[in-house]
């Protein structure tokens, strides 16, 4: 006559969206680029006034203090340990797109509180705060660009916006750029980073997995290449949809990649997690990834793959 108790059974949860990183990081503002028309909003990203002040950033990999100017020149990779620091979607576009070729698409889409979600804080307020902080409409930036002269549809997720969780807008923008690329007969490159599906939009979020994957099926049927690039971290619903579906799957070094979060796995199974569990290196060894690519060679690697798959 006992109630089903959560103690007697493992109660697995969907991998939760991870909270946005609160690690104090005083990242440099990328220089205003002609690629973007709103350089001012980019600078609002510098939010944490923690140690070190202003000019230096501490590497999360080795603790090294690096000047922001140097970091900027090194694409935010630590010169000592090669730790890849978190990057914004705008920075990544700047690193990957040929100068002046990026044209943003569907920037007019905005998330709404469709479920009137009764949580601790209002979803609408959260959206406004993250938009202010990142200068983005939502957790993905999409558009067209050229990568070493290869015209490409591109989507870049930004972990700074609500842990780059996927809600209706993320799913819709990614689907639209895939569909438009299919129409234009050009490849798609998606740079993923995500805590998973966006809880605040309930099942609407989960269904974005099906929507984006179906669009990729049509793109693939047209014989067009899709390269998926996984960055730190790419988890849960995003990993269980488009991010896993690349003709080629690349990852930045040491990125956390997986389905369930380590905490959930530990709590559910009480298993010992192997060394390096869910890192890019672990997954290369186990056959999921095609390559681990250092940020500084990402653009040339993409270009040569696009050339092969033309």
């Amino acid at each position: 006559m006992a109630e089903m108790s959560t103690e007697t059974q493992p109660t697995p949860v969907a991998p939760p969206p991870m909270p946005p990183s609160d690690q104090g990081m005083n990242l440099p503002t990328p220089p205003p680029s002609k690629v973007f028309d709103k350089p001012k909003e980019v600078s609002s990203r510098t939010r944490k006034k923690s140690i070190p002040e202003g000019l230096w950033t501490r590497c999360k990999g080795c603790g090294e203090m690096i000047t922001n100017k140097e970091l900027e020149d090194l694409l935010k990779v630590c010169p000592k340990c090669h730790y890849h620091l978190v990057a914004t979607a705008k920075e990544r576009v700047q690193w990957l797109a040929d100068t002046g070729t990026f044209e943003e698409a569907d920037s007019n889409l905005h998330s709404v509180d469709a479920l009137k979600f009764k949580g601790v804080a209002s979803y609408s307020d959260k959206l406004k705060a993250y938009a202010r902080e990142t200068g983005l409409q939502d957790a993905v930036l999409t558009g067209f660009c050229e990568i070493e002269a290869h015209p490409t549809g591109i989507a870049v997720m930004d972990f700074g916006f609500l842990a780059a969780s996927m809600g209706s807008v993320v799913g819709e923008r990614i689907t639209r750029i895939i569909e438009k690329s299919t129409k234009k007969k050009i490849p798609v490159v998606i740079i993923s980073a995500s805590g998973g599906a966006r809880m605040y939009e309930g099942m609407l979020s989960l269904m974005q997995m099906a929507k984006t994957s179906a669009a990729l099926a049509r793109h693939a049927k047209a014989g067009l290449p899709f390269i998926s690039v996984l960055t730190n971290p790419t988890m849960a619903g995003v990993m269980a949809s488009f991010a896993s579906l690349g003709d080629v799957i690349l990852a930045e070094p040491h990125s956390m990649i997986g389905f369930a979060g380590a905490r959930v796995i530990r709590e559910t199974t009480r298993e010992e997690l192997p060394k390096g569990f869910q890192t890019a290196e672990f997954l290369l060894e186990r056959g999921l990834l095609d390559m681990i690519v250092h940020r500084k060679t990402m653009k040339s690697t993409l270009a040569s793959l696009l050339e092969f798959m033309k």
Binding site: M1, A2, E3, M4, T6, Q9, P10, P12, V13, A14, P15, P16, P17, P19, N108, L109, S111, V112, A114, L115, K118, G119, V120, S168, V169, G171, E172, A197, M199, E201, G202, M203, L206, Q208, M209, A210, K211, S213, A214, A217, A240, S241, F242, A243, S244, L245, F259, A260, G261, I265, T268, T269, E271, L273, P274, Q278, L283, R286, G287, L288
Partner: protein, 323 residues
């Protein structure tokens, strides 16, 4: 069948007990207690109606997890004939949390072939060790895909039965790429040129449910849920404590009616009062009628239209503002 009683059902149980006592007394002492019995019966019906007609999202979650709730194989036995289970993913192993095989489905006097896929839970500790509480590993999803592709090859409609707390969150599942297995299923299900019906019969746990859930029509039993995250998981994140799961269940809009309103599901299959476990046969009858109706409706589409409609179904999901 002895049922355990959910907390909110206790008033019903109490009245049932009193009614039995009254009847026993009447027959043992050979006295006429008909008025009292009738009054008690009426009160029982009113109490049932009062409780079961306004179940909260959390109460429904509890019903969906009731260990006496009919599972995949129970519906297979009640609704289909000649179930021929097929095993293994031809890659790694055979997952006992995810089953599948051919069967016959008698509809309107005709017998037609179908491919059945379903997540299977166990009723006791021993069976749950085997079934892993209905949480499939990658090989389960890969077996499901293999069988669905077999259905596609031989032009047999597919019916999937969703009943999982989620895909298994474990070390081996990650090592064998559970996320990739689910992703591939989701993509491939959008391309199979046969009718696909999916029905959430119990727990629709996130990506693990969607991994066999892309379909032309998605049905859900009245007390089943389908959610992006478990209410406990959501509560742990938002309120830092799982005891707030009832609030999370409400906020996530994971109940059948809410899902219908947001076009996540296409139809709600009614359950007997109090849930499918109170009358499994009636639950199966209701489900069978719904499956016949929807399968019949899909018969009229050409393969091309079927795929276009399926694409459009998912393409339209999402709510946002466009300025």
């Amino acid at each position: 069948m002895k049922l355990y009683t959910l907390e909110f059902e206790k008033p019903v149980l109490q009245l049932q007990k009193q009614l039995e006592e009254l009847r026993a007394k009447a027959s043992a002492e050979k006295i006429d207690l008909n008025d009292e019995i009738n009054a008690m019966e009426k009160k029982l019906e009113e109490t049932k109606q009062g409780i079961y007609s306004k179940l909260s999202a959390w109460q429904r979650v509890q019903i969906s997890r009731h260990t006496k709730r009919p599972y995949f194989l129970d519906y297979v036995a009640q609704i289909f004939e000649g179930f021929t289970e097929l095993h293994g993913d031809r890659r790694f192993g055979d997952d006992h949390a995810m089953l599948g095989g051919f069967a016959f489905f008698k509809t309107n006097g005709k017998s037609r072939k179908v491919m059945l896929i379903g997540q299977q839970k166990g009723r006791d500790v021993k069976e749950n060790v085997k079934r892993n509480f209905g949480m499939a590993h990658p090989e389960g999803y890969r077996k499901a895909l293999r069988l669905m592709q077999l259905a596609h090859k031989f032009n047999v409609p597919i019916i999937t039965f969703i009943d999982t707390p989620g895909a298994y969150p474990g070390v081996q599942a990650e090592e064998r790429h559970i996320a990739e297995a689910i992703a591939v299923n989701i993509r491939e299900m959008s391309t199979l040129e046969v009718p696909i019906l999916a029905v959430v019969i119990g727990e629709g746990g996130s990506g693990g449910a969607l991994g066999i859930g892309v379909a032309d029509r998605v049905l859900i039993l009245e007390n089943a849920y389908y959610s992006v995250i478990s209410p406990e998981g959501c509560a742990a994140i938002l309120w830092k404590d799982r005891v707030h799961a009832p609030k999370a269940a409400e906020a996530l809009k994971m109940s059948a009616r809410d899902l219908l309103a947001h076009k996540i599901v296409d139809d709600v299959v009614p359950e007997p009062p109090g849930g499918a476990h109170h009358d499994p046969e009636l639950a199966a009858q209701n489900l069978k009628a719904s499956l016949i109706k929807h399968l019949h409706a899909l018969d009229k589409f050409s393969k091309g239209d079927l795929l276009d409609n399926r694409y459009t179904r998912y393409r339209g999901i999402g709510e946002y503002a466009e300025s």
